[in-house]
């Protein structure tokens, strides 16, 4: 259980463990790279998206997304409302399967394996790729049972083992000291920031490979937000994190890479489709945006 990659609980089809471990240089002209940024882009690809489009029934919500998400990095998705960043995020652990009529076109690879392949079980995918939601959603159970929920559904029953997991996860989520004396209290009795950290602890308890975060701090005050951002930095050497955020300062503070999404308006049908505009290392995307739309957004002239 010490390495999330060796999480034996998933029966996701044999993920090649060796191949993606080689260090991959990003395809970037060396001349453009400033020296202090040189180290950011290394690591094995975890997700590779090629020409991904996402439909809800016949409506195309997102089109033309190609990007690569690297291991042990924090990748931020930013962009105006309705640009499809959450939709793309939910594609990464097949949460969109739960929405009737949702459909993915294009190629989504997870450690080289087709995530939407025929034999891939969404249950197995989600055991490896956890998700933290915009609104804290603790279960109406005790704090302990909230954290132990994931391990339990994965078949861990031993009391001491569960105790250990609960304590470790709550510590990782920086919540342990606040709740250690009332683990039997209801998860719903916590404040918003605590509840969100409980949800993060719950996600970490199953030792996922990837943690997806959908605006995890949007309902929280700056102190709780800071706590969660610190926590992301602390856990990023064990997990790969993808975060959707509306807050550009947050993206610059926490992320290694940033993807900027925008909305294409089709004037004929009056529909809006999200698309990926620009994807780069965070400091480059904000410091030297290549696309005019990115430039307008990050300088605050739009959205």
């Amino acid at each position: 259980m010490e390495n999330p990659e060796q999480n034996s609980l998933a029966d996701l089809q044999a993920i090649p463990e060796s191949a993606p471990r080689q260090k991959v240089r990003l395809p970037e002209p060396a001349a453009l790279r400033e020296p202090e940024q040189a180290d950011v882009g290394t690591g094995a690809p975890v997700f590779e998206l090629k020409d991904v489009s996402i439909y809800y029934s016949s409506f195309r919500a997102v089109t033309n997304v190609s990007l690569t998400i690297y291991k042990h990095q924090i990748t931020a998705f930013i962009g105006p409302s309705g640009c499809g960043k959450t939709t793309v995020l939910r594609t990464l652990n097949r949460m969109n399967d739960l929405i009737a009529g949702a459909r993915v076109e294009g190629e989504v690879r997870y450690h080289g394996e087709a995530l939407y392949g025929k034999d891939v079980s969404p249950i197995a995918v989600r055991r490896r790729i956890g998700m933290v939601f915009q609104k804290p959603n603790p279960f109406p159970k005790s704090i302990y049972d909230n954290v132990a929920y994931g391990p339990r559904i994965n078949g861990i029953r031993g009391k001491s083992e569960l105790n250990e997991i609960v304590e470790r996860s709550l510590r990782q989520a920086a919540l342990w000291d606040e709740v250690k004396n009332r683990l039997g209290a209801s998860g719903l009795s916590l404040s918003g920031g605590q509840a969100q950290r409980l949800c993060i602890a719950r996600t970490l308890a199953v030792e996922p490979d990837v943690v997806l975060m959908d605006e995890p701090a949007s309902a929280l005050d700056p102190i709780a937000t800071g706590a969660i951002e610190d926590l992301m930095q602390e856990i990023k050497n064990q997990y790969t994190i993808v975060i959707v955020t509306h807050n550009m300062q947050q993206a610059t503070r926490v992320s290694d890479r940033t993807a900027f999404f925008s909305v294409l308006v089709n004037p004929e049908s009056d529909t809006r489709t999200g698309t990926l505009v620009e994807y780069n290392q965070t400091d480059r995307l904000f410091g030297d945006p290549q696309d005019d739309r990115t430039k307008a957004y990050v300088t605050g002239r739009m959205g």
């Binding site: 949460m95 009737a100 998700m131 959603n137 109406p140």
Partner: protein, 298 residues
């Protein structure tokens, strides 16, 4: 140029006058009157039943048998067979209808989605809610009693048929109230659909489900019409709910209350009070149990 007329006015923070205030008052009075109108018959029923029935109630009235003939004076025999019959038959009906109804509602809300089968079952269960109880009794009489004879089981079938649609509908409404974010939280940890349903959705809806099931049980416990055809009218205790004629409190109320004899009428009132008390105790017990299970939903 517009002329600036007003010198700064004192803001008027008193309640608005005129039609708006009148409307508010009228509605408030209407609500209070409605409440009183609802409470009067309820209180009156309770008062009458207690006033007329309390004098008859005694330990031997509740537990001993046989049920005396209608001409017997008050104080002879007891309602023991009917109390036992009501408890047995209602419990058996609940054992059949509540799990089935909850599972049906789980199918409708969690699994069925918008497919034709779920729509059909939902529609039929709503239709079933409107079927008069005497028709249910006739139905069971035709398909069961004619072949296997009178029994408590037949009565339980009839009551179960009555309870089933109520349990389905109330459970379904409760499951719909469970926020989707809880389901997603569970799915995101790699839970299967059945796991999500059993460990998150049902516990979150438990309080409401129990309330709905109780309403159904209480309603069934008081039904007379379906029992008339199905369980017969035994006067002795019949411990075997699966065969032989049985009896129940509503049947005894019906049989005794329309007699000219004072003893019979008293027994009718006593049986009525006993039935109300049984339902009341059931409600309280279930509330306590639910509160224990639902202590984390606050």
């Amino acid at each position: 140029m517009a002329v600036i007329t007003a010198e700064p006015q004192q803001p008027d923070l008193r309640e608005a006058k005129g039609w708006r205030r009148t409307k508010n008052r009228i509605m408030t009075i209407l609500m209070v009157v409605s409440f009183i109108l609802v409470i009067i018959p309820l209180g009156f029923v309770l008062f009458t039943v207690i006033a007329k029935g309390a004098s008859v109630i005694s330990w031997s009235f509740l537990t001993s048998g046989p049920i005396p003939g209608i001409v017997a004076p008050a104080g002879v025999g007891g309602m023991g067979p009917a109390v036992l019959g009501t408890i047995e038959i209602t419990a058996l009906a609940a054992v059949m209808a509540v799990p089935l109804g909850i599972l049906g509602a789980v199918y409708l809300n969690e699994y069925g989605g918008k497919n034709w089968l779920a729509a059909f079952i939902g529609f039929m269960s709503d239709v079933m809610t409107g079927v008069p109880s005497i028709i249910m009794g006739l139905f069971i009489f035709t398909i069961w009693v004619l072949h296997f004879g009178l029994s408590g089981l037949a009565g339980a079938f009839a009551l179960g048929c009555l309870m089933l649609p109520i349990v389905i509908r109330s459970t379904y409404e409760m499951l719909r109230l469970v926020p989707n974010s809880l389901r997603e939280g569970s799915y995101a940890l790699g839970a299967t659909k059945s796991r999500v349903t059993v460990t998150v959705v049902l516990p979150a809806a438990l309080g409401g489900i129990v309330s709905g099931a109780l309403l159904a049980v209480a309603r069934a416990a008081g039904e007379t019409a379906p029992l008339l055809f199905c369980i017969g009218a035994a006067s002795e205790v019949n411990k075997n709910v699966f065969s032989g004629a049985n009896t129940a409190l509503p049947s005894q109320i019906f049989a005794n209350a329309n007699q000219p004899y004072v003893g019979a009428q008293d027994r009718g009132w006593g049986a009525a009070l006993t039935l109300i008390a049984l339902c009341f105790i059931l409600m309280i017990v279930a509330r306590l149990v639910t509160a224990r299970f639902a202590r984390y939903s606050r």
